[in-house]
Symmetry: C2
């Protein structure tokens, strides 16, 4: 069983520009990538964890697979290569920006029996896909990818499980999302944000994030 | 085993004002209340389902418990009464605005063995609490209630399980949240929004909601 994490380092997390410098956004992206990789490795479920990246990154325990392609093309080429090389073993595709994921989450996903497990992100996204037979599926990210993946599965007559997880639904894109890391995080991303001076603030019963002592 | 749903009908869901009239917001709140009540009833886990409300509402299968108090005071009085009347049986407190909840979610929560199960909402909220001994706990909603409930549990030496669910984390407060109902809903709230003409729209890869054919 394999896992693959697509990763984009350059100009990562541009919607966090208001609070984080480019270097800090890259640092946060790397911290989240480490959280996801550790959840995969500590789950003990995979013989190989690949990071499919447009730039060189080093993460303990994971292989680097360089690509110049966009997300969909790179992943579909990855699935195609698995099929071509008769490595039609199950594969988990998981996003790099979901630092709340736990090894239990990973085990629960791969211990299901469906042909395809779709893990929704918020607002129609897909944060993980567990594909039992790589030759039976292709990905179509961006927009309402959740609906597109449900459609592709139906066309390929795959039975689908929608996996219900707050941890996995929580991708970190916007400033408000940082609050979720501060509230529920346990790993690298939490420590990274704390070291930068981030904390939770409350204003009229609403939660937000603040930086430093201001 | 009991369940209680606090409910506010008047001026419900005020953050949806831009897209829904007051009557429609009340209608949506009632549809969501019906979704939550059905998940509880269909789970088969409860001898009593109470709706703790400031106004008269009728929901099949549930008892109405009227109160004039605010959320925290009303719920703590409810817990206190259970203790006073030697009804120290487990109780599930669950919010009325999480229409994605399933009967499986409910069964999974009550089948845990912890003293307290906390189900986080987004941005520090608490969308459900399963309290094994009502006399051992009190609630403190608003703001980062998740952290407050973890603290109260620690002070009362309760062991805590944080229950990981996207369905249960998704409370419907803002316009963007309606997309989650349209994407993942199955029940009353989905049908209510569809009957009002709501649908998903995609703009530059981002998902939103639209009303009517515009």
């Amino acid at each position: 069983m394999r896992a693959v994490i697509p990763f984009k380092k350059n100009n990562a997390k541009s919607r966090l520009k208001t609070l984080l410098s480019e270097k800090e956004r890259e640092g946060l992206a790397m911290a989240m990538l480490n959280d996801v990789t550790e959840a995969l490795l500590f789950s003990g479920c995979f013989s190989v964890v690949d990071i499919l990246s447009t730039a060189v990154v080093e993460v303990n325990g994971a292989n680097l697979v360089l690509t110049e392609k966009g997300l969909n093309e790179a992943l579909n080429e990855y699935l195609q290569k698995m099929s071509d090389h008769s490595m039609n073993e199950p594969v988990l595709i998981i996003m790099a920006d979901i630092p709340l994921v736990s090894k239990k989450n990973i085990r629960d996903i791969v211990n299901t029996s469906s042909d395809l497990v779709i893990v929704p992100g918020r607002m129609g996204g897909t944060n993980a896909l567990f594909i039992r037979e790589p030759s039976s599926f292709h990905v179509d990210y961006y927009g309402a990818s959740f609906l597109k993946h449900v459609d592709i599965a139906a066309k390929n007559v795959l039975n689908v499980l929608v996996f219900d997880s707050f941890n996995l639904s929580t991708d970190i894109d916007e400033v408000a999302d940082l609050a979720e890391v501060l509230l529920h995080g346990k790993g690298h991303a939490l420590r990274y944000l704390k070291n930068l001076g981030f904390g939770i603030m409350e204003n009229n019963g609403r939660i937000g994030v603040k930086r430093g002592t201001s």
